[in-house]
């Protein structure tokens, strides 16, 4: 048999190889088609996450406080970049840090993540270049107001909520991210198809009870007060006492790094603002009446080796009403002796102190109310004067709201409504009563006492001329590391406005003010400014119709403090709000505390400012125009146009006085002579 030739062998090998290829292809096609199909899908399609826009946060009137916008993060693969000059130019135009521009052009690097998020418009030219990759991210746009930022909180660069409402309601605000599968083109860029994307579910919209206009008023007044009084900080909280709605909540600290909402996180010793609750409980228990009196021993009382003194001069025998009016420490301690230690403790707890209000804000402090088993022999006297007890400004406003609304302690709320992205209402705040803490009759009696405090007691600075304000001031020594610091005070005032049908309960607290420390003067002054600004504002959460029934004719105030307040008020008519606040507060901060004794009032000399004068406009001199030869009407018109007043004089020696070309201030009279 003839041996096969070499060619036959080669052909045979090729045939076998071809058969092997066909067999392999058949095998892959018939038995591994799913595997290869998956590989193909993976290479052709890419899964991409679509960020869900976080929900809006609106104020009570529907104006946005925080909203989301889509921004872009960019990354650069320097080795893929072709047009390096264009990339450098476009990145610089987008305000990218020059260090990262250099890094993006450095071919020694494989990948550069450019820090920060950019407006899509600003980086659109850069994204169009080869080697530049973009990723959409959601950014939060916040209102400028610092106070609002403290309430709504922040979201970190990674999209995680850090504090405030953003954190408290994160699960509702963040929405659901969608994952879509998109085809890629030959260069690997996603190629969106119209029917393959499920839209992400946007977060819910949260409507707050905050009134933006009132919030800004409080922010501004507080900032000016902290600055002008050289205080360490301060807080203002305004609440609707009838619903528990928090209308404004401003916090300010001299340290710009402090961003906490201290109105709920930072408790303080309230001092004399605690006294009305003691009076209310005494009335409620039937242990005292407003007219019952105690001897205050000239404002000095020694109990258990500790001497309690009154800051203000007042008659030695005071009724309960006068004890509140003059803020007598001795008087309230003597009245409070009619309550047991347990009753005092229960009074504090009933008013909501020592427990969180459950407002939808993170890191709320419960304050400090110690159990009576831990009280010292002096504690029983201290707590009724507002010492050895710490409360947050929000707790204090909530407790005063009970006095304002007829005796019901309400749950304060800051979230008015939550709406899903499709408009469905998911939550609506309801008025929620915690407990009744006093009868309506007792609340009315306490409100009358508080009215006396502002009308002629320690807080006349807070009063208005045509509307009555009730309230109570507090001036408490500040405590640091367990010791009271001499000369360092917390000045506060809690007001009910108007006193007969309160629409606002407002607390103003200033920490360690250096230019005066009496709560009724400095904090009362800020309250007055806030109320005036709220009245003048277009929409500051006031029911104008109801307010109209509380307005009365302006009432002259003859007390020294009243005159001082009047002087400050009149001065305000020619001064701007903040300058006015600052000056008035400085002036009043140095004034002695209110004294209603007519003998001492004679020693004050009050100089009322002269009639208000408008600040003259700044005018530059200009030349008197030449009007010779012009008809009378045109001449007058030309002079008016030049800014002068014209007086026609018959038979004048000169046609124009002063003569044309004379430099004269605008508004001056130019005499224009006319023939007989």
């Amino acid at each position: 048999m003839k041996a096969p030739g070499r060619l036959t062998i080669v052909h045979g090998v090729l045939v076998v190889f071809a058969l092997a290829l066909i067999a392999k292809a058949g095998y892959e096609q018939l038995f591994r088609s799913d595997y290869w199909s998956k590989i193909g899908q993976r290479q052709h399609y890419v899964s991409s996450g679509l960020p869900a826009p976080r929900g809006q946060i609106l104020d009570a009137t529907g104006r946005p406080l925080v909203e989301s916008r889509e921004m872009v993060r960019i990354s650069v693969a320097p080795r893929q970049v072709r047009n390096r000059a264009a990339l450098a130019r476009d990145l610089k135009l987008a305000s990218v840090d020059p260090r990262f521009v250099s890094m993006s052009l450095d071919t020694m690097r494989k990948w550069v993540d450019v820090p920060g998020a950019f407006l899509p418009n600003s980086v659109a030219p850069a994204i169009a270049l080869r080697g530049v990759y973009s990723k959409p991210v959601m950014d939060r746009v916040y209102a400028t107001s610092g106070g609002i930022r403290r309430i709504v909180g922040r979201v970190g660069p990674d999209g995680k909520a850090l504090d405030g409402i953003e954190l408290a309601l994160d699960s509702l605000l963040r929405g659901d991210t969608a994952t879509v599968r998109v085809a890629r083109d030959k260069s690997g860029r996603p190629l969106a198809a119209p029917d393959d994307a499920d839209d992400p579910t946007p977060g819910s919209t949260v409507v707050l009870t905050i009134n933006r206009e009132l919030q800004e008023i409080c922010d501004r007044a507080l900032a000016v007060a902290v600055d002008s009084l050289h205080a360490d900080g301060g807080d203002i909280v305004v609440m609707n006492p009838n619903t528990g709605d928090i209308l404004a909540m401003a916090s300010n600290r001299a340290d710009p790094a402090a961003v906490a909402n201290t109105a709920v996180t930072e408790p303080y010793e309230p001092g004399s603002t605690m006294k009305p609750f003691v009076a209310a409980r005494l009335l409620q228990l039937g242990r005292a009446t407003p007219d019952q009196t105690v001897d205050t021993y000239g404002g000095h009382l020694t109990i258990n080796g500790r001497t309690i003194t009154d800051a203000d001069e007042h008659p030695s025998v005071l009724s309960l009403t006068d004890v509140i009016k003059h803020s007598s420490n001795v008087g309230i301690v003597r009245f409070a002796d009619r309550m047991s230690v347990r009753e005092k403790y229960e009074m504090l707890r009933d008013m909501g102190f020592g427990t969180q209000t459950t407002v939808a804000l993170p890191a709320e402090s419960p304050g400090v109310v110690r159990d009576p088993s831990g009280w010292t022999p002096q504690s029983a006297a201290s707590v009724v004067m507002g010492y050895e007890v710490s409360v947050t400004p929000l707790q204090m406003v909530t407790a005063y709201s009970a006095i304002a609304n007829g005796g019901e302690l309400l749950v304060p709320h800051i979230v008015k409504e939550i709406r899903a992205a499709d408009g469905t209402v998911r939550y609506t705040a309801q008025r929620q009563v915690v407990r009744r803490v006093m009868t309506p009759e007792v609340a009315t009696e306490v409100r009358t006492m508080l009215r006396d405090v502002v009308a002629g007691g320690t807080s006349t600075r807070a009063d208005l001329a045509t509307l009555d304000v009730a309230g109570k001031s507090g001036t408490a020594l500040r405590n640091a590391h367990g010791r009271y610091i001499a000369g360092s005070y917390t000045a506060s005032f809690v007001g009910l406005f108007p006193d007969d049908k309160p629409q606002f309960v407002i607390l103003v607290k200033l920490d360690n003010p250096q230019m005066g420390f009496y709560g009724g003067i400095v904090a009362g002054g800020v309250t007055n400014v806030v109320l005036r600004a709220a009245l003048a504002a277009r929409d500051a959460a006031l029911n104008r119709g109801e307010l109209a029934s509380s307005v009365h004719a302006p009432r002259p105030d003859t007390t020294p403090a009243g005159k001082a307040a009047e002087r400050a008020r009149l001065a305000s008519e020619k001064r701007i709000d903040s300058a006015d606040v600052a000056d008035s507060l400085r002036e009043l901060a140095h004034a002695p505390p209110v004294d209603s004794d007519p003998r001492t009032s004679e020693s004050y000399v009050v100089t009322l400012p002269s009639k208000t004068r408008a600040i003259p406009p700044v005018v530059s001199p200009r030349a008197v125009p030449d009007v010779s030869g012009l008809p009378l009407r045109s001449a007058v018109r030309a002079l008016h146009a030049a800014g002068f007043r014209v007086q026609l004089v018959q038979g004048a020696a000169l046609p124009l006085v002063p003569v044309a070309g004379t430099m004269l201030e605008a508004g001056r009279v130019v005499k224009l002579g006319i023939a007989h």
């Binding site: 909203e67 407006l119 109320l531 005036r532 307005v551 305000s572 008519e573």
Partner: protein, 85 residues
């Protein structure tokens, strides 16, 4: 055979044209989507700017320079509901 080949080429060309057209349109739609996002972001930026510039925080210092003031409560009239002028 020739007719089959021509038919195949025609059908293949139609399929390729259809896919190319679809890709072009998809790319155009993606560009429009990006443009919408850009304009929405710009709208948000401008709206926020207007809000911020009209806030009391920004206006306060300007108002101060202009010598304006908060009116006294005696200068404010609250009109009850239903009152005829």
């Amino acid at each position: 055979m020739a007719a089959l080949l021509i038919g195949f080429v025609v059908v293949a060309s139609a399929v390729i044209w259809r896919r190319s057209y679809g890709i072009t349109q998809a790319r155009h739609m993606a560009d429009l989507d990006r443009r919408i996002v850009q304009l929405e972001a710009e709208r948000g930026r401008l709206a926020a700017l207007i809000r911020d510039e009209s806030s009391r925080t920004q206006l306060g210092p300007i108002v101060q320079q202009l010598g304006m003031r908060i009116p006294d409560d005696r200068q404010v009239r609250s009109i009850p509901r239903g009152t005829q002028p």
